[in-house]
């Protein structure tokens, strides 16, 4: 069986995979990083989004052998070692942008890439369009959009800390 070497959340792993093994299967079943989820089989829902070399990819739609030598970041690798949340994670919590939590890892990973790729910031309409590849069945997206809008200001250094949600 082919052998691939991946650096996942800063740790190097060498694993044997089948030629047909998907990246998400390697992450979940071989590395036991179960934060990355599988919500569909047609590359539509985005629950499996991780970062590969800094870009968001749907890990259900890429073979593990294609990832040999790459740097992967999953949801488990976002928060600081002391537990401090990434601004996007913090914004999702503050703005109640998650309910069941199943789409959340992919949603957060997509959102971070979306913000990184738009250094001048996005309007709420642009955020909605940017989330085209991620499905959420719980929230109606309203609070996800608010969370991303708030997080982008922190990530781009426009505000020193997250603007709190209106609800008290």
């Amino acid at each position: 069986m082919p052998q691939v070497t991946l650096t996942v959340n800063g740790t190097k792993h060498t694993v044997e995979v089948e030629a047909r093994t998907l990246l998400v299967e390697t992450l979940r079943e071989q590395l036991r990083l179960t934060g990355t989820h599988v919500g569909c089989d047609t590359s539509q829902c985005g629950a499996c989004v991780v970062h590969m070399g800094g870009d968001s990819v749907k890990s259900c739609t890429i073979l593990s052998v294609q990832c040999d030598g790459s740097e992967i970041t999953t949801i488990e690798g976002l928060a600081a070692a002391d537990g401090t949340l990434h601004p996007m994670q913090e914004a999702f919590r503050e703005y109640h942008a998650l309910q069941c939590g199943f789409c959340t890892p992919g949603m957060v990973m997509s959102a971070i890439d979306l913000v990184n790729k738009h250094p001048d910031g996005m309007s709420e309409k642009e955020i909605r369009e940017g989330l085209e590849g991620n499905l959420c069945r719980c929230t109606g997206y309203h609070n996800i959009v608010k969370a991303i809008a708030a997080a982008q200001d922190v990530m781009h250094g426009r505000v020193p800390e997250l603007v709190r949600a209106a609800a008290e």
Binding site: E18, R20, R28, R32, L33, T34, G35, T36, H37, V38, G39, C40, D41, T42, Q44, C45, A47, T74, I75, E76, L78, A79, L85, Q89, F92, R93, E94, H96, L98, Q99, C100, G101, F102, C103, T104, P105, V108, E124, I127, R128, E129, L131, E132, N134, L135, C136, R137, C138, T139, G140, Y141, H142, N143, I144, V145, A165, A167, E168
Partner: protein, 795 residues
């Protein structure tokens, strides 16, 4: 130290306790669990809607690498494994019971819908199981199939079950037919309206999964499953299917990624992996793929209805007559029969003082996936029918649609209000939610906005829906008399530990609702324990005494009330202990938020003083009071709760593409007392999104041969962020009068109130075209067709 600062009790928008694990990828969903020695199961499913199984050849498949076992229906039948049971029995008009055909976990001799499981393959890896499933040879003889709701009752239609002649499951009615006919005879106007409530696929983002585990030493079975109600699964599967006593069967529903009703039911795969784990003596994991979910998760809605509304000359409603056909699919899912009857027809009075109602419902079998409750369950179908009918009737009678509603509202001083279809509404204030919603949505300024849209070549419409629904299903004795085969109470245990922290055991189950936060707020509010010191335990039959689970917006109204009752017992016992410690009479001890006080003195004891004394009973009236501080309460509701409100939707249609854009959506709901406003808003927004999805995008479509055409996320239009607007949510509270918290429920109001608001807006946008009605979903293709037909006719 138990000090609640800042305020975390009832009314605080506390950020959720459960979020950290979900945000950091540390949730524990079923597919995240791996048992030592675990094997993997794949279901081989029927590609035919209806066929006999002539032969299943598993010889080659069994010889493939990694295969541990393959089982078919006959293997389970040989061990007297029971059929998947139905939890609700409806009786026909003549008093006879409904047709209730056997539902084998694995098909026996015949398949009845695409996706019906035929065999299970168990192998060391999922890939090996999948490969082997492909190597099984099944000889089918395809039979004619019936998929349409109306088609099922046609003479000569293919028969789904031998035991259900004419595909009729039941022919049921409610209300007073003679009174209805008399009311219609003196009506100034009768408005008739026909509609189909589109079939939907719930599509929780987490696909279903199940792990069966068997301990050969103890004989104990464990099932990990994506369930909204683990105790009910234990009851149904243990007692009716596998014949395992409750003491030998543990069901765990850990983190569950959304349910919306689809994870209430006992599914065949749960029984299959549990039973098979005992055969292969290894844990077995099965995880559904999304395309498999489409053809095996229970679907929702699928009604075909005719309604007639009788009005007097002043536009007052005299009576309502409804005839509905409801599709049950190929087998009866757990609660399927009660959805189009006691959850639908009983709601047909809506928010209106309709003096007489008569409704007939026929349920039919078809060669499709079973249909059961989906977010709202019967109440969205009733609300849609009624609120579209109100708009159609207002238009035909030449009445303003808002004024027509106002004129017929049940008035605040009429509560409790007995409807002619069994329900008694305890409280509500429909005028206030209406007026607040009209104001917020800018109803008065709409015509100016419509004119502005017209200058851009767009068609703008506004739609309103005023609704009531019924939550917290109960009381047990009443639902039992109506056919429920279970009680519908809830159980709560409050365990105050020696140093004052609290563990709550609840039979309700959280799969996105935020119970770990909301329930902790109840404890903080009443016992004064900070939420950080309150842990909510749910979803495990080995930990929680009993429970009926979460559906029908019942968790807070029923489960929260059980906790409240258990807290009352804690306080009562605490007062006796405090009286002893403070050398006072128990009648003189008061309790408020964590402090016991001798009335009129400064003598106090904290809850922690009391819990410590209860567990370290050195100075303790041991002959009179048992040590320990833990209480359990079963709460059986006295009535349903009745949330209601008003939704207003504003849309703009592009006539060139037929696309409908939702510009604004405003919801003003009365969900009773609000514990956590942030969570309530989120629940309403999510429900509205599903309602907009039903109205504009979603449809489970079967072709005439019974193939599911919209069977993946490529084909079934799930609402995406760009399809939806911001959803403005406000609440106007009237308290529930019969539960201790005054709460009504907020999980379904969004999905119930919104579809007619959207569709009334779509029809309003097309008003210049003389359009009376548009069926859901109002896809661009459908709207473009209407616009184009109008243009052609005008040319």
């Amino acid at each position: 130290m138990n000090v609640v600062t800042p305020f975390e009790g009832i009314g605080a928008s506390l950020r959720r306790k459960e979020d950290f694990r979900f945000l950091m990828g540390r949730g524990q969903y079923v597919d995240d669990i791996n048992r030592p020695g675990q094997t993997h199961a794949v279901m081989l499913r029927s590609p035919h809607a209806h066929a006999t199984i002539d032969r299943i050849d598993t010889v080659a498949a069994k010889a493939m690498p990694g295969v541990k076992a393959i089982f078919v229906g006959e293997d389970m039948a040989a061990e007297q494994i029971g059929g998947i049971p139905c939890g609700w029995q409806i009786h026909n008009k003549d008093g006879s019971p409904m047709a209730e055909p056997m539902h084998p976990a694995l098909a026996l001799g015949k398949v009845r819908h695409v996706g019906d499981p035929v065999a299970v393959v168990i192998a060391e890896t999922k890939s090996q199981a999948r490969d082997a499933a492909e190597a099984i040879v099944v000889d089918y003889t395809p039979l004619p199939a019936v998929s349409g709701t109306e088609a099922a009752l046609q003479p000569g239609a293919p028969q789904v079950h031998d035991g259900a002649p004419g595909n009729l499951c039941y022919d049921w009615h409610i209300g007073d037919k003679a009174a209805q006919e008399a009311a219609f005879a003196r009506a100034a106007r009768v408005v008739k309206f026909e509609t189909t409530n589109n079939r939907l696929v719930p599509n929780a983002m987490e696909p279903r999964a199940a792990i069966g585990d068997f301990d050969s030493f103890s004989g104990d079975y464990t099932l990990y499953t994506t369930s909204q109600n683990p105790h009910v699964i234990r009851l149904l599967m243990g007692a009716f299917v596998l014949h395992i006593p409750e003491s030998k069967l543990r069901v765990v529903a850990p983190d569950v990624g959304g349910g919306f009703g689809s994870k209430i039911y006992h599914y065949a795969e749960e029984a299959i992996v549990t039973w098979a784990a005992g055969k292969v003596k290894r844990p077995i994991k099965w995880t559904c793929e999304r395309s498999e979910s489409f053809m095996s998760d229970a679907h929702g809605r699928d009604h075909v209805s005719t309604a007639e509304l009788a009005l007097d000359a002043e536009g007052k409603i005299l009576g309502l007559k409804v005839h509905t056909l409801a599709n049950m699919g190929a087998y009866l899912s757990t609660f399927a029969p009660c959805v189009p009857t006691y959850l639908y027809a009983t709601l047909l009075s809506g928010v209106y003082a309709t003096p007489v109602i008569y409704a007939e419902v026929k349920a039919v079998f078809t060669n499709t996936v079973p249909v059961d409750a989906y977010r709202g369950a019967g109440r969205p179908e009733a609300t849609y029918l009624l609120e579209r009918l109100m708009d159609v009737a207002a238009a035909e009678a030449g009445l303003d649609k808002v004024d027509f509603r106002r004129r017929n509202f049940i008035l605040p001083d009429q509560f409790p209000y007995q409807t002619p279809v069994a329900l008694q509404y305890d409280s509500g204030d429909y005028h206030s939610t209406l007026e607040a919603c009209l104001e917020t949505a800018g109803w008065a300024g709409f015509e100016a906005r419509r004119a502005e849209s017209k200058t851009r070549g767009r068609l703008r419409g506004i739609g309103i829906s005023t609704y009531v629904e019924a939550c917290g299903i109960a009381p047990s004795a009443v639902v039992g008399s109506l056919g429920a085969r279970a009680g519908l109470y809830e159980v709560g245990t409050i365990r105050v530990h020696p140093t004052g922290s609290v563990t709550v055991l609840t039979g309700a189950h959280s799969h996105g609702q935020g119970h770990e936060t909301t329930f902790a707020q109840l404890i903080a509010d009443k016992l004064g324990v900070p939420t950080a010191n309150v842990d909510i335990v749910h979803g495990d039959t080995a930990k929680v005494p009993f429970g009926m689970g979460t559906y029908g917006s019942r968790s807070l109204a029923v489960g929260g009330s059980a906790m409240d009752k258990a807290m009352d017992k804690i306080i009562a016992k605490g007062k006796r202990i405090a009286a002893h410690l403070m050398e006072a009479s128990v009648e003189d001890v008061e309790f408020e938020r964590g402090t016991f006080r001798v009335a009129g003195t400064d003598k106090t004891k904290t809850l922690t003083d009391i819990s410590l004394a209860a567990y370290v009973p050195h100075n303790y009236p041991i002959d009179e009071i048992e040590p320990g501080l833990e209480e359990t309460a079963f709460y059986d509701p006295k009535n349903f709760t009745y949330p209601g409100g008003c939704h207003i939707c504003e849309v703009e249609i592009d006539p060139e593409t037929g696309r409908t854009e939702v510009l604004n959506f405003t919801a003003v709901d009365d969900v009773g007392r609000v514990i956590n406003p942030m969570i309530v808003e989120g629940q309403v927004q999510g429900g509205v999104a599903q309602g907009i999805g039903q109205a504009l995008l979603e449809a489970a479509i079967y072709d005439a041969s019974g193939q599911l055409v919209s069977g993946s996320f490529m084909d079934y239009t799930m609402p995406r962020a760009g399809d939806l607007p911001d959803v403005g949510v406000a609440t106007h509270v009237t308290l529930c009068t019969h539960n201790p918290l005054g709460v009504k429920g907020c999980g379904e109001v969004g999905a119930i109130g919104s579809p007619p608001a959207v569709m009334n807006a779509v029809v309003d946008a097309l008003r210049d075209y003389g359009v009376r009605h548009v069926e859901m979903p109002a896809t661009p293709q459908k709207i473009w067709g209407i616009v184009n037909a109008h243009r052609l006719a005008a040319e």
